[in-house]
């Protein structure tokens, strides 16, 4: 843990809100990214990330300083997002809606932006095929480079459960990817066919 972080944590433990705001500033991106990947919606991700920091602030006395603060925060975020997913059965948005939602206001390189947006959409579609805990395990493994043990601690699961969840999720993602690729190829072939036939 770096020095300013330890200092901020110490000050937060004494009730300093500004010190905790510095921690919020530092960890806003990883927490928001996790929430966004889990929930697939920018506004819900903002709410979830804000709630994560609020819960962390409320329970800061329970934080074990021997553990990584980032891991603790991401664990809170993952649990919150899993709960949110359980509460609502997410309606899968139409691709056009997603494209419209993710298009930025200023696009310096339209081609690059379009391909990034397509990737984002593809990623969201893939992740939507997984249930909450599986999605959290995959996100923590590949975005945050968590080990299986760290994922197990973060999600309150056994290491063997994490292994089997990861295995199942990889298989599901690969199958979904194959299915999407096959659908896309079929579409392209149809477009290439002459309308006369």
């Amino acid at each position: 843990m770096s020095n300013p972080e330890a200092e901020w944590l110490q000050q937060t433990l004494q009730g300093d809100e500004e010190a905790f705001a510095s921690l919020v500033e530092r960890y806003q991106n990883p927490v928001f990214n996790l929430c966004y990947r889990m929930l697939g919606d920018e506004f819900e991700a903002e709410d979830a990330a804000q709630e994560t920091f609020w819960r962390a602030f409320q329970n800061i006395q329970r934080y074990d300083t021997q553990r990584s603060f980032a891991t603790w925060l991401l664990s809170i975020a993952a649990h919150y997002c899993i709960d949110q997913q359980r509460k609502r059965r997410t309606p899968i948005l139409a691709i056009d809606d997603l494209l419209e939602e993710t298009l930025p206001d200023q696009a310096p390189d339209p081609e690059r932006t379009a391909s990034q947006t397509e990737e984002q959409v593809a990623m969201r579609k893939l992740l939507e095929t997984l249930n909450g805990p599986d999605r959290a395990a995959i996100i923590l493994r590949y975005w945050y480079d968590f080990s299986e043990d760290e994922i197990a601690r973060a999600l309150n699961l056994s290491t063997s459960a994490v292994k089997s969840r990861l295995f199942r999720s990889r298989q599901a993602l690969a199958r979904q990817y194959q299915a999407d690729a096959a659908r896309l190829t079929g579409k392209e072939r149809k477009q290439d066919e002459s309308p006369a036939f």
Binding site: Q28, Q50, F57, Q116, M123, R170, Y177
Partner: protein, 182 residues
């Protein structure tokens, strides 16, 4: 064709020893299904590893600080609601327990008679206390009697005011925190 253990090796995402790697390579040369799955997984993994980190809109920490007071207020109100509900539930449980106990241990007529008896005793007790104070006031000088009435009325007013203020404060701001009490 038997795809095991090759199919498992594809998705374990763990390093294989040279012998296993060779076996897998040989299997994939003859198994297009495993090859397609492997390619698909490699693509997905690449997407996961290279995807950009999503960032919140600027001013996230300021928004968090701004929402802090509202969240605190909401939590305090929830605590007050929970306390009131818990108190009401305990009163109801005690009442239900008493009713059950009395209905099991005595008949309805006995119960009715004892309730009437107890109410009469309480009423008689109040009347006796009133009579005692009345006789006491008769012996005191009129100025002292007025002063006693004035003190009692003032205290009743102060207590009522304090009660109203506390109810208003708790309903508006919630229970005071530890820091506020210190």
């Amino acid at each position: 064709m038997n795809h095991q253990p090759f199919n498992s090796w594809l998705y374990e995402d763990a390093p294989l020893n040279p012998a296993q790697a060779e076996e897998l390579k040989l299997h994939m040369q003859t198994c297009p299904d495993c090859t397609r799955q492997y390619e698909a997984w490699l693509n997905v993994r690449h997407m996961l590893k290279t995807a950009e980190v999503s960032r919140p809109q600027p001013g996230f920490s300021n928004r968090w600080l701004a929402s802090l007071e509202a969240r605190r207020l909401r939590q305090q109100r929830r605590q007050v609601r929970i306390t009131i509900l818990a108190l009401a539930a305990s009163v109801l449980i005690v009442l239900a327990g008493l009713i059950t106990y009395f209905s099991l241990t005595s008949s309805l007529a006995d119960l009715f008679a004892s309730v009437i008896g107890a109410s009469t005793q309480v009423a008689v007790g109040f009347v006796q206390i009133g009579e005692f104070f009345e006789s006491l006031l008769r012996f005191l000088p009129p100025a002292l009697t007025t002063a006693i009435w004035f003190i009692i009325a003032s205290w009743i007013c102060i207590l009522c005011l304090a009660w109203v203020l506390s109810v208003w404060r708790i309903s508006r701001k919630g229970a005071p925190s530890h820091e506020e009490l210190q």
